[in-house]
């Protein structure tokens, strides 16, 4: 008859082993590559099969590239890491922060046509909670005027 201590250790190993197994499998199943447009292109060049792997791209929206397909909820826009530009198509609700020049993370896969089909779109803002004044007369605040909330608010007022 094994001692209680041994039995506890066996039970503990079972619990932790199961947890470890779940962790390992769920990482291999749900873990997502986080790449820049350049890294993605390099990988696809090396292995065309990589197109079918779901990835996240972190990049910046090319100013002026955002188009909305009339009648639908699709967005077309380009993102870049400075070296390479990737066209992205996204269908769904875009976050408030999604405007020209913001950093975004898009998740999805690269299509055969060279367009990235995104299923999720996250927009980041470097000054999310803190907003240091630089020079009171500096431009740059204009970008918020492009956001839907601002436009519709001022549009009807005028």
């Amino acid at each position: 008859m094994a001692s209680a201590r041994t039995k506890f250790l066996i039970g503990g190993a079972l619990v932790l082993g199961t947890a470890g197994y779940l962790m390992a499998t769920s990482i291999s199943e749900t873990g997502t590559y986080y790449l820049t447009p350049t890294e993605l292109a390099t990988r696809i060049n090396a292995d065309p099969g990589f197109r079918n792997t779901g990835v996240k791209i972190g990049a910046r929206v090319v100013p002026g590239s955002i188009q909305r397909i009339p009648g639908g909820r699709e967005y077309l826009f380009n993102v870049t890491d400075g070296a390479r530009v990737v066209p992205v198509v996204y269908r769904g609700i875009a976050p408030d922060t999604f405007t020209d020049g913001v950093d975004v993370v898009v998740e999805g896969r690269m299509g055969q046509d060279g367009t990235f089909h995104a299923t999720t779109l996250l927009a980041k803002c470097a000054s999310r909670y803190e907003n240091a004044p630089t020079d009171p007369n500096a431009p740059g605040m204009d970008k918020y005027k492009q956001t839907p909330g601002y436009k519709s608010a001022t549009g009807t007022k005028a």
């Binding site: 209680a4 932790l16 990482i27």
Partner: protein, 675 residues
Amino acid sequence: MILVGELSLWVALLMAAWTVVTSYAGGAMGRDDLVTSGRRGLYATCLMIVLASIGLWTALLTHDFSLRYVASNTSANMPKIYVFAAFWGGQAGSMLFWALILSLYSAIAIWSVRDRARHLAPWACGTLAAVLVFFIATTCFKANPFDRLSFVPADGRGMNPQLQNPGMAIHPPNLYLGYVATTIPFAFAIAALVTRRLDSEWLGIVRRWSLISWFFLTVGITLGMWWAYVELGWSGYWAWDPVENASFLPWLTGTAFLHSIMIQEKRGMLRKWNVVLVVMTFLLAIFGTFITRSGVIESVHSFAQSPVGFWFGTFFVTTTIATIYFVATRLKDLEAKAELESMVSREAAFLYNNLVLVGIAFAVLWGTLFPILSEWVRGTKITVGPPFFNTVNIPLGLLLLGLTGVGPLIAWRRASTSNLRRQFTGPVLFAVAVLALLFALGMRNFHALVAFTLAAFVAGTIGQEFYKGIRARHTMHDEAIPMAAVRLVARNRRRYGGYIVHAGIVILFCGFAGLAFKKDHDVQMKAGETKELTDPLGHQWKFVSQGTSTSETLNRFVTAVGLEVFRDGKRLGIMTSEKRQYFDSNKQPQFEPSTEVGIRTSAKMDLYIVLAGVRDETAELRISFNPLVVWVWIGGMVMAIGGLIVMWPQAERRRAGGYVATLEPASRPELAVSH
């Protein structure tokens, strides 16, 4: 006053450094004069930090925009309460706030042991002061809220509208109160290790402060979830974001400690483990702050990147190494005084509870750090999202829920068959009945069924305990039932307070299980258009758009949509959802637009309407049915109430005078900062 505040900060740094030197020297040489001097140094540090804080509050409330911090975080047209809360809203201010709480806690903790724990106190005092030196130095050199701008702007940049919410004004201070309280147990653990006085004295002091920390973390996390839900408009409350995880980690190890400490008190086991848990809780609190401040990990909560991260990293590594050294050299003093006797015993149940809690903590830490780890090991960043955390933590969480029912009722040492039968027959039957009922009602989601069944089991055990206790008082003391119930809890606060915490856990899990039935619908509606949807409970909902409107108030433009809502043909009223664009005194827009969600809460389900945008007079909406969400907040509150009952002072005053001193001040820091 602002200048006084700034100078006080520097004096505080010197005072804290003085305290470190005199306390450690006094402890090592056994010189009472040095120890006394160190203690006074700590009080003086506290006073200086309070002055510095008053200085910063003065600057904020008088709108002195020459200070970078004031200009960056507030504007003249903001409501006063948020100007006040801006103290902890930004990086530099939150560092000072941390130092403020820590100095108050430290002063109270050291004052409370002024005539006992003679050997521990100097070392604890020195350690607390050392941590204070770190925080004050970081504030002074790397994140000084008193830094001035080269020009004086006409107005500040305001506070992010998402932070202008009552929940957000009190959520961060609660988390800080929880994080910082982990320092006191850490300091006494170090003191006990250094002096090799690893008996029950340090544990008594530590338990109290661990409870305080646990209480504030619980309240803070719950408020954070509530804030995310009502303010961020993504219809969820927990996204496994690194910052959320950072607050969850010390909560997990702290909870584990509050359970394992009972085993040490009753059976003298787990002595090493308890020291490790105390230290780990503190380190995780520091580590959490490090990862969120350094920009090492991507998070939606990110503070501006700053050198503070490096300082935290260094502090973390130094403290870890020092602690490992002390634990490793004191292993002999930490030998267990008893052995585990049976797998079917309270000890074993508590051990598994600890294992699961720490297992969850490890999984959460692993998932949080995985992008960094994978980049180091394989050269590519791989991120894991909610699916990872859910896959691992749902089974572990359910196991924990089951143990919540077993642990408090099973016998110590070795449970007999009759003990098991007596305690668990009722709850098991009740759980089976609930399972059968839910199955008959058509519920087929596996995880939800397990969750509700286990919840019923635990609820059964708690109900049974209360029933037995109340009946005993009712018959023995001839008390009326309500009086018996009140006295039962009041006379055994630790035990029945604990049950109330567990009841909160049960409620919380029921709320979580509701997520399995959540439904989201993305719809577009013009004025006058109608949409019909079916909710997860089978009710028919009809929404009639009243069109969109715009308006302007004090500091924002508002775009709103109104929906007339009908359920099963019955009119429930009009719900609105807004998009807001905040602006400063010159009508310059500030920040990104934010969302004001329309929420209709009921016990069974929340209706949650988000206005995503308006285009060509068409409102784009996301309508969500979120079952049982309200129980998450209620569960959190019940846990907090249970925690309060457990740590309420008078319970121990009646029993032993020795604890009074540590207890009294417990609620004071809260008062000091919440006004």
